[in-house]
């Protein structure tokens, strides 16, 4: 029987892993929706409204999944980790409170207007609602990343009787790893959504849905992915250097470097880290490469895991195999993103004859090679894989600390009997598995259904009921915006 600590950790990890999938979608999808809405307003081209209406459904679904799994986490602080708030509540509390006050309410209120208000409010208010939802999700990201980063690189506080007290809020908010982590996460969300949009549109295209809206979405997805991935690789490198400075034990685990402290450290491509022998089995490595990447010198010294074991044998570094492999999965997925997006962009960039117009044009999806088009479909999940792997790297990499150097994870856990934690854990796992299955299933179904729809030819609501509704509402003197919105903007 596992103890309550490890069960509580698995439960929180399961919960937060499930949760992060959905914010990763909604953070950037909110901005993509604003992009589609604005493109429509500027060009009057209905294909952008078609994109908006498809993706707003995905947004609504993802948002609901994010909200309910997020509420679960806010309760688990109390049910499973009371020590966390008792020790650092004076810091974490205000940050979480600001997240609720400046982000949660904003998103929750305006998503109603964004989803259901299109024909009830003036166009500008609907666009504003779309903006405020996107802004709210980004604010939420900001505050939660501030708190998470502070747990990795705490500063701006003093300990009085074992409880953290804030001394400098500016230092707490702008703690050393915050800017890197925030940029890394926002870019991760952007990449995830770019690949989701390209992947789902490619799936529709392959299934024979050749509408202009679908082709445009493939273009938008590929272009944003190709733009964001080099920035993300650069940002990831900066974040790694920041971690090297503040959490050397994590970097040692990422590199799988047990004992090499005198420089010329190789970059390990494959290995099975062995915590018994404190060595790597079956290692394949590039000589000196880790030193070059991390110190920009071939003979630069990087931290070794053995440095984080105390005289009495207490291990103060994270479990190596998990961090080592999570990191490689993230990097590998990032490389696949680079290859696919740049490969696709390179083909789209070439001018090809277009029989319809008789001229040579760029960005024609029909000239995208089949294998690349097919590769976009599994890449729909690339962002999720990379984001999860990245979070595992940084969070497992912080162990055994909950707040680096301040409190250990074991100190925070609740005094709840292990069988009780096990029963709730199994309950959550069953629900999450079922919901994830339903979520992916519904998005595939929405894609199939959209493929059967005719291209949007006007903004008039499709059913007679809605038209009658809009007219009678005018008669009753309600909803000024409705009439104006029924006409496409030319």
């Amino acid at each position: 029987m596992m103890d309550a600590l490890i069960l509580s950790r698995i439960q929180f990890a399961a919960n937060i892993s499930f949760h992060i999938l959905f914010p990763t979608i909604t953070i950037a999808l909110g901005w993509f929706l604003l992009f589609f809405k604005l493109r429509f307003q500027w060009t009057g081209d209905l294909k952008w409204m078609e994109a908006y209406r498809f993706w707003v459904k995905v947004f609504a679904l993802s948002f609901a999944m994010g909200v309910v799994s997020g509420i679960t986490m806010s309760f688990q602080f109390g049910t499973n980790w009371p020590g966390f708030m008792e020790t650092v509540g004076n810091i974490a509390g205000p940050l979480l409170a600001y997240e609720v006050m400046t982000a949660f309410f904003l998103e929750a209120v305006f998503i109603g207007i964004m989803l259901f208000g299109f024909s009830r409010v003036p166009g500008w208010l609907h666009t504003l609602a779309t903006f405020l939802v996107a802004f709210g999700t980004t604010m939420s990201t900001f505050w939660i990343i501030v708190l998470n980063s502070w747990m990795h690189t705490p500063q701006g506080f003093e300990m009085i009787d074992g409880v953290a007290h804030a001394t400098d809020w500016w230092a707490i908010i702008f703690n050393p790893s915050m800017p890197y982590r925030l940029a890394h996460m926002l870019l991760a969300s952007g990449l995830t959504v770019a690949f989701v949009i390209a992947g789902v549109a490619a799936f529709r295209y392959i299934r024979g849905d050749r509408k202009e809206a679908v082709r445009s979405q493939i273009r938008v997805g590929i272009t944003f992915a190709a733009l964001l991935i080099p920035i993300q690789i650069f940002m990831g490198d900066m974040h790694g250097l920041n971690t090297l400075e503040h959490q050397p034990a994590k970097v040692a685990a990422m590199e799988g470097n047990w004992s090499d402290t005198d420089g010329n450290t190789p970059l390990i491509l494959f290995a099975l880290p062995n915590s018994e022998t404190r060595e790597n089995d079956l290692e394949i490595a590039i000589p000196n490469m880790a030193s070059i990447i991390l110190t920009h010198h071939a003979d630069g010294a990087i931290p070794a895991l053995d440095e984080f074991v105390t005289e009495d044998g207490t291990v103060l570094h994270p479990p190596v195999d998990k961090v080592f492999w999570s990191f490689r999965v993230m990097i590998g997925t990032g490389m696949a993103m680079l290859l696919v997006s740049w490969g696709a962009l390179a083909f789209l960039w070439r001018r090809k004859p277009c029989p319809e117009t008789g001229t040579e044009r760029r960005f024609m999806i029909r000239h995208l090679p089949k294998p690349l088009l097919w590769a976009l479909v599994p890449m729909t999940f690339a962002g999720w894989v990379a984001t999860l792997a990245g979070w595992y790297t940084t969070e497992i990499g912080r162990q055994p600390w909950l707040v680096q150097g301040v409190m250990s994870t074991a100190e925070a856990v609740a005094d709840v009997p292990a069988p009780m934690v096990l029963s709730t854990l199994l309950g959550y796992l069953a629900i999450y598995a079922a919901l994830l299955f339903a979520y992916v299933g519904v998005i595939v179904y929405l894609a199939h259904k959209a493929a059967k729809d005719e291209p949007l030819d006007s903004l008039t609501p499709a059913s007679g009921e809605a038209v009658v509704d809009a007219i009678t509402r005018e008669d009753r003197g309600l909803g000024r915006g409705a009439g104006a919105n029924l006409q496409p903007a030319e």
Binding site: R53, V56, K57, A60, L61, F63, A64, M65, V67, V68, S69, G70, I71, T72, S74, F75, F77, G78, T79, N80, P82, G83, M85, E86, G89, N90, I91, G93, A97, Y98, V100, M101, T102, F104, F105, A108, V109, I111, G112, I113, L115, F116, G117, F118, R120, V163, H165, A166, A414, V416, T424, G427, I431, A438, V442, Y445, L446, L459, A462, D469
Partner: protein, 338 residues
């Protein structure tokens, strides 16, 4: 910073207890009506009515639930010691609450986006989730009133509270529908509300009687002179609201939608009065008879920084919440993305 000659250590915990109280009250009223509509969905005799019921709460439920996040957040932020004590004691009911909220939250989306053949399944999950969340909240309220002790007696009382709150939420849900629906759905809602109001009155009465009987301290607070005099408006106003409801139900559904606002307004009043009674009974304790708000409070400098933010942000939250209710004012129409 001094207020009325008191140092922040004295008034900050009180202000935060007040803020948390307001959040809980707003949550109970707002999510109460949408959980209640969820509980009533199996009673709708056709799918069109059920769609309309869900449409009446669709644009609001998410913001309503955020008041729970704020309330738990304030408990966590302002009274961390109490937060841990209350939530780890209520470990299993909290789990049931969360599963309920998860199921109903996603069912809003899945019931209309999944294949038509699964709609009945998501409808059932929507109902089950609403019911689970409500039962769990009532159970937790009952245990809290009983001092967070697990004995056969307290569990029985908590179970009764769970059922009373279910009826209470069903009532405020029906009252919401009377306000937002028209035609046959409104007529049905009137019948539902009529049946539920007695459960609600019984539930409030039971808790009002049980809490002084369980705690001599609460007995002392209510039934000593002259307190009993200036407390008497609470039960009297509740009785007046019940009488008003009695009259409203004699007229409903009425020509020109007169009286339609009365059940919801009365529900609002009854919930508020019951809440004020509870707050008076338990002050200054955050964990009944064990931990006061002053013992459990966070450091004043942390509370101050939240309070300053709240003074600016909360009015704007209330402002744009009002905007959303105004945009979706009047009788409910089908929810459409176009």
């Amino acid at each position: 910073m001094e207020l009325l000659g008191q140092s922040p250590d004295t008034w900050l915990p009180f202000v935060f207890a007040g803020l948390m109280g307001v959040s809980i009250l707003l949550y109970v009223i707002l999510d109460g009506y949408d959980l209640g509509v969820g509980i009533l969905t199996p009673l709708a005799d056709d799918e069109q009515k059920r769609d309309m019921m869900v449409a009446s709460i669709g644009p609001f439920w998410d913001a309503n639930e955020t008041w729970l996040v704020l309330a738990v957040g304030l408990l966590l932020v302002a009274f961390p010691a109490a937060h841990g004590m209350i939530l780890s004691t209520l470990y299993l009911p909290v789990f049931v609450l969360l599963v309920g909220l998860i199921l109903r939250g996603v069912s809003f989306e899945f019931r209309v986006k999944a294949r038509a053949k699964y709609k009945a399944l998501w409808n059932r999950l929507f109902f089950a989730g609403s019911l689970m969340a409500t039962l769990a909240q009532g159970f937790m309220l009952g245990l809290y009133v009983m001092g967070l002790e697990f004995t056969a007696g307290t569990i029985l009382f908590a179970t009764l509270c769970a059922m009373a709150l279910t009826v209470g939420y069903a009532f405020i849900g029906a009252a919401w529908l009377i306000l937002k629906a028209e035609g046959p759905l409104q007529t049905a809602a009137v019948a539902w509300a009529r049946r539920c109001v007695w459960g609600l009155a019984g539930g409030i009465g039971a808790i009002s009687l049980a809490s002084p009987l369980v705690s001599p301290r609460i007995w002392e607070k209510w039934f000593s002179f002259p307190e009993v005099l200036w407390l008497s408006p609470l039960p009297l106003a509740s009785l007046a609201l019940l009488a008003l409801l009695w009259r409203a139900f004699a007229h409903l559904p009425a020509e020109g939608d007169r009286w339609a606002w009365v059940p919801f307004a009365s529900a609002l009043g009854l919930f508020t009065l019951a809440f004020l009674g509870l707050a008076y009974s338990f002050y200054p304790y955050v964990v009944p008879d064990r931990l006061t708000i002053y013992e459990a409070a966070s450091a004043p400098e942390s509370l101050m920084i939240i309070l300053i933010g709240a003074l600016f942000v909360v009015p704007s939250i209330l402002g744009y919440t009002a905007l959303a209710y105004w945009v979706f004012r009047g009788k409910t129409r089908a929810l459409r993305y176009d």
